[in-house]
Symmetry: C2
DNA sequence: CCGCGTTGTGCACGCGCGTGCAATCAAAAT
DNA sequence: ATTTTGATTGCACGCGCGTGCACAACGCGG
């Protein structure tokens, strides 16, 4: 109310009049595949510039059934890795002309609400990046709603109805297992995240079975309720307090860096142990923090940008919607293990 | 293409027919202030449920000029505090029925592009949370575009044309200065972030002037190029390497936690110093990490949720768009200073 | 039983642009 | 010079819903 008069934005109609062409020619001038003569295109663009015109994406979406909008559903803001993903996703999708709708599905009563909103906004795709997703939910979502595409990102879903873009947990964890095995440890502990009913258990399963088949011993495991370094800190602390000294692990393989960072902090500050001096720890994701001098975490780097790129292609329909797209990252060996 | 036939979503028209009323009555049933008899409302809702109908927000926005969309422009994903902000903003805005468009303005050629897109999507407001914003840019944006509202969040802008929701840096840093003064330090260093032309210098200025007027000495300062712990680590390292041992600071007051965390790491791992044993360090923001045992950072907590709430109210027009809304947080005293 | 104030309900018109095809025009072919 | 072809341009119709107002239905007291 306090600022300039602010005339209404110009419409294609206005530009058309100024340029002496029809409205449709104006709109066509703004599509890249347009079939327009250079001369009129110039004239239109000049007029558009004068009126500060830009096509209305709402109207365009309404008319065309393509919104160039992707909604991202996240329920886990405690894991710092999410920020890395958000950066990559907004950057890559943005480069492809896709805008991102960010929805916090932790506070939303229900992920269902978020999906409904997504549908109401006619998003081209809904991307699930949460950690609390059950396959039930995904199946239900896919069945109930009329969302263009349902994609599970950075997480495997056994639900065939949804596309899933993620690393190949099995091969990744196999590499990690080999590395840990070659470290000469004898009492591993696998630290897992929230146990949803999904195939996210693959990392755990791969490690446990790999270790068992190599050594004959089945590693122990422990579960942490969320991918939150601070919660990992607390739960690891109380778990280890309940362990007799002589049955302590000598290497803790964590499902991801969030858990690993919390674990290392707990080992240091609650038990005075050194990593890797007393215990080794491994992570997964290669969060920026993992490279810090304080952690120097041996971890597995997911090719987030490439995965985001694949996501963009799926959304744009340039890539087959195979049910599953598995990526291979690389083991990053640092000092922690 | 692989899934269910997926009939087109139902429209208000369909529901109207099924319920035996007019289309307008149906749409009215979905507005909360509607003037509808309980009986028909029930009938409409029942029909809507059967058809799995939900109002189309695109069409609604197009017709009403209100999109209930807010776009967030961020150019700085290295600062972990951004994740905290994103969580709060999506949660609070979502609770008010506002959806969030997240735009990465670092990769976008230009923040201008993002603002244009925002206009094209008819967002109700564009919120700037970047760190590279110059006031020029803000002014230019406000002048050029027809964006509903332009709001600078968690950052002061001297640009009167934009609303700014942030903490009162002056009073906050005054409290911090008092705390540091009472610690008995004698050689403070202020570590500042990117020097945009904006009023973000307030923290630095407040500390420097406060210290000077209390002790007669003017503290030194040093600038870090971005709010990235890792960059802070590097720059602090090279800065201190160039300092003669006897002129080292005994307390480093950082503009925010991102810088403080990097600083502490550098002190420990590059110079083998203890914090707070050898040097004290303070931050600003109270990032989750600040509470970790590894840092125990004395910092200043911004009331992010309250600020997000204020933002929602401004967007919804329930609060005057005063040019400036200053919040007061609280000093969080931990071990680092 | 009538008039009047409340609700409730229906409707014409418009929001700005996309789709598909018909009309037009320029340039190349005969 | 006339035809043919391909590149341009124009247009009717629709996308699904909001606004503002006119009209119908309901309740009340006199």
């Amino acid at each position: 109310m306090a600022s300039t008069p602010k005339s209404k934005p110009a419409t294609a109609e206005d530009v058309a009049e100024l340029a002496g062409v029809s409205r449709w020619t104006v709109n066509r001038a703004f599509k890249k595949d347009a079939s327009i003569s250079k001369r009129t295109l110039d004239r239109v663009m000049k007029a558009a510039a004068r009126l500060d015109y830009a096509p209305d994406l709402l109207a365009a979406s309404l008319a065309s059934d393509r919104s160039n909008l992707v909604s991202l559903l996240i329920d886990d803001f405690a894991n710092p890795h999410k920020l890395v993903m958000l950066e990559a996703l907004t950057r890559v999708l943005g480069a492809h002309g896709l805008d991102v709708l960010l929805v916090n599905t932790a506070s939303q009563k229900d992920t269902q609400d978020a999906l409904r909103t997504a549908r109401q906004r006619r998003v081209d795709a809904a991307v699930l990046i949460g950690s609390q997703l059950s396959d039930d939910l995904i199946a239900q979502a896919k069945g109930t709603d009329h969302i263009g595409k349902l994609i599970v990102f950075a997480r495997l879903s056994s639900e065939v109805q949804a596309v899933s873009i993620c690393v190949d947990d099995r091969s990744a964890m196999a590499v990690m297992t080999d590395h840990v095995l070659s470290g000469g440890y004898s009492r591993p502990l696998f630290l897992a995240g929230p146990q949803t009913r999904s195939a996210h258990l693959l990392r755990q399963q791969t490690f446990v079975e790999g270790w068992q088949s190599a050594t004959g011993f089945r590693p122990e495991d422990h579960v942490v309720g969320s991918y939150d370094p601070r919660q990992a800190y607390r739960q690891v602390t109380s778990f280890l307090k309940g362990c007799p000294e002589d049955s302590w692990p000598d290497v803790i393989v964590c499902e991801n860096d969030a858990l690993a960072v919390g674990t290392i902090d707990a080992l240091r500050h609650e038990f005075g142990r050194n990593v890797p001096g007393d215990l080794a720890v491994t992570g997964f994701d290669d969060t920026p923090q993992a490279a810090d001098q304080s952690y120097q975490l041996t971890t597995y780097r997911q090719p987030i940008s490439a995965m985001a790129e694949a996501l963009a292609q799926v959304v744009l329909g340039q890539r087959d919607e195979v049910g599953l797209d598995r990526f291979t990252g690389e083991l990053v060996i640092r000092r922690s293990a």
